[in-house]
């Protein structure tokens, strides 16, 4: 079954700015779906329309088969939203915020209390349940927004940059939590600027640029398109003159680090052997960057070339 089906969605803002140009997108039930794109690409507009905070110009949105125009009650009941910016009442306590949200979805108070306790405990906020929300740290506020979005137990959870500004340790724990929620059957749509996050969490990915979906596939298929991998090699000393390795282009990063590009079909042991022939011993190595990030940049570059006006 399809969790979210978007057909020919367009949005032109009052000032005339076209944010979406006929977007088609499908997210399967149970998916952990990444929606990626540069700033201003249309991600937040798309999420805004699905969550009804933005009025679409044309097109159709269906949530678990319920048309957002014709049966908003049923469609919205299935949705949970974690927006990019904090949007809770800063004068209310953590508990009040979560309980009120449950109430807006028709969850009776007794059940809402049980769920609030469960999610606040899972997200490490239970001890702060009586704290006024404005006194929370940034990370706690992010977790509060997730608890609030989950209290009515939506089948589709949309997270717009949920880990922005969160430290690495907390980010990792939030990833584990989101994986757990997804494993339990909640379909998740995630937008993020951390491509490592998308690669780690998402099984399917769509890339949006300038209001158009330029790629929509599963992560594995997407990554297979990378013809080379770049690695950083830690060596004792980078020679003054780099050896010529036609199959493995080399570049000096600093006096102890080399960058090497390795075609997908070649083995890393070949790189080590070639370097050893020139007296360079590799002490350790790491990926130069996140693979998805490389692909993302290439896709966007291709998109902008294709979209560029003819000279």
């Amino acid at each position: 079954m399809t969790a979210l089906a978007i057909t020919q969605l367009t949005k032109t803002y009052a000032g005339g700015k076209a944010a979406l140009h006929g977007v088609d997108l499908t997210v399967d039930t149970g998916a952990f779906f990444g929606l990626l794109g540069p700033n201003g690409a249309g991600k937040s507009t798309l999420i805004g329309i699905v969550s009804t905070l933005v009025t679409k110009t044309s097109g159709k949105v269906r949530v678990f088969g319920h048309d957002l125009d014709h049966d908003p009650w049923a469609a919205k009941s299935q949705l949970g939203l974690v927006p990019q910016e904090f949007n809770f009442n800063t004068f209310e306590t953590v508990s009040q915020i979560v309980l009120n949200q449950a109430g807006y979805y028709g969850i009776p108070r007794r059940i809402a209390r049980e769920r609030a306790e469960r999610y606040l405990k899972n997200l490490g906020l239970w001890e702060r349940r009586n704290s006024v929300s404005r006194t929370l740290s940034g990370g706690m506020k992010r977790r509060l927004m997730i608890a609030r979005a989950l209290v009515h137990e939506p089948r589709l959870l949309i997270l717009d940059e949920p880990t922005a500004g969160v430290d690495i340790e907390l980010r990792r724990s939030m990833w584990d939590f989101l994986r757990h929620i997804n494993d339990q059957g909640t379909t998740i749509i995630l937008t993020t600027h951390y491509l490592e996050e998308a690669e780690s969490l998402c099984r399917d990915i769509a890339i949006i640029d300038d209001g158009r979906i330029i790629e929509n596939t599963d992560v594995k298929t997407l990554l297979r398109r990378l013809s080379t991998h770049a690695f950083l090699l830690d060596v004792a000393e980078v020679p003054a003159e780099l050896p010529e390795l036609p199959a493995f282009p080399l570049r000096r990063v600093d006096e102890n680090t080399l960058e090497v590009e390795v075609p997908r079909e070649r083995a890393l042991t070949e790189v080590f052997a070639a370097l050893a022939q020139h007296g360079i011993t590799v002490a350790s190595m790491r990926n130069k960057s996140n693979r998805l990030e490389e692909l993302f940049i290439r896709l966007l570059a291709r998109g902008s070339r294709e979209g560029a006006p003819a000279p």
């Binding site: 933005v54 009941s77 949007n87 309980l99 009120n100 109430g103």
Partner: protein, 262 residues
């Protein structure tokens, strides 16, 4: 198709949540919401009722203090019901936590009813407080209890809806003070709170009839004292008419997403 009863149950829980939240809001900040009208209205009673009133003499057969008491109670109800909704709803817009409601399946009518209930609740509590203050200074016979109560509820409802519409259009804090300062307060003061319509020259009596607040103040005064400058039936008709028109307009604005959705 989800059963209608399920939707109604959800809407009822949502409404109860919103009313609880709104009530909690004005009770939590009672120093800002409930105390000021008590102090202001006490000053009105002391200055206009006790000090100046005896020099003015009776009005429509009642002492001046008795005559102005219903109007002063109404003044408090109008300003507080309007002020509660306009500040609460605009605050929710400003902080963006109105989005909690907008993304939820809460129907627009429930959003409107929830905020209006908050405004009516504060209006009634403020009215009760000011009535308590008034009873220190004068007697209030309450000749027609049903009229008294119904006029209070209808007036608070009407001005709560007015506050809601004001908040929908407001883009900055200045915008929520313009209507109360430049429209509501003058109309209330000129709505027969402090004088009988019969004191005005004929031309200004006619002009005053265009002031809707005059009808509410007089209807309430009729409920309390049994005297009014205008027919009670017309007053009820005016209030109900404006509640229906303003209510429909507020729902239309919510449906369109005016000031709420991009």
């Amino acid at each position: 198709m989800i059963a209608l009863s399920e939707r109604l149950r959800t809407a009822a829980v949502s409404l109860a949540t919103l009313v609880r939240k709104e009530t909690h809001r004005y009770l939590r900040i009672w120093v800002q919401t409930l105390l000021p009208p008590a102090i202001t209205m006490t000053l009105y009673f002391v200055i206009f009722g006790s000090l100046i009133g005896p020099r003015i003499g009776p009005m429509d057969g009642y002492s001046y203090m008795e005559f102005i008491a219903p109007g002063i109670i109404m003044l408090a109800i109008i300003t507080n019901s309007y002020g509660n909704v306009v500040s609460s709803f605009f605050g929710a817009k400003f902080q963006r936590h109105i989005e909690e409601l907008l993304v939820s399946p809460t129907p627009n009518i429930v959003i409107l009813l929830g905020y209006v209930a908050g405004g009516v609740g504060r209006g009634l509590i403020t009215g009760a407080i000011v009535t308590g203050v008034a009873l220190i200074f004068t007697r209030l016979p309450v000749e027609h209890p049903f009229i008294t109560l119904s006029v209070v509820v209808l007036t608070a409802t009407l001005f709560s809806i007015g506050g809601f519409i004001n908040a929908i259009y407001a883009k900055k804090f200045d915008d929520i003070t313009i209507i109360p300062t430049f429209v509501l307060t003058p109309l209330t003061y000129l709505g027969g709170v402090f004088y009988s319509l019969s004191l005005l020259p004929e031309f200004w009596q006619t002009v005053s009839l265009a002031n809707p607040i005059l009808y509410m103040v007089n209807a309430f005064r009729y409920g309390v004292l049994g005297t009014s400058d205008i027919p009670i039936g017309v007053a009820y008709g005016m209030m109900i008419f404006f509640i229906v028109v303003f209510g429909a307009f507020a729902l239309y604005l919510l449906h369109r997403g005016t000031g709420l959705r991009a």
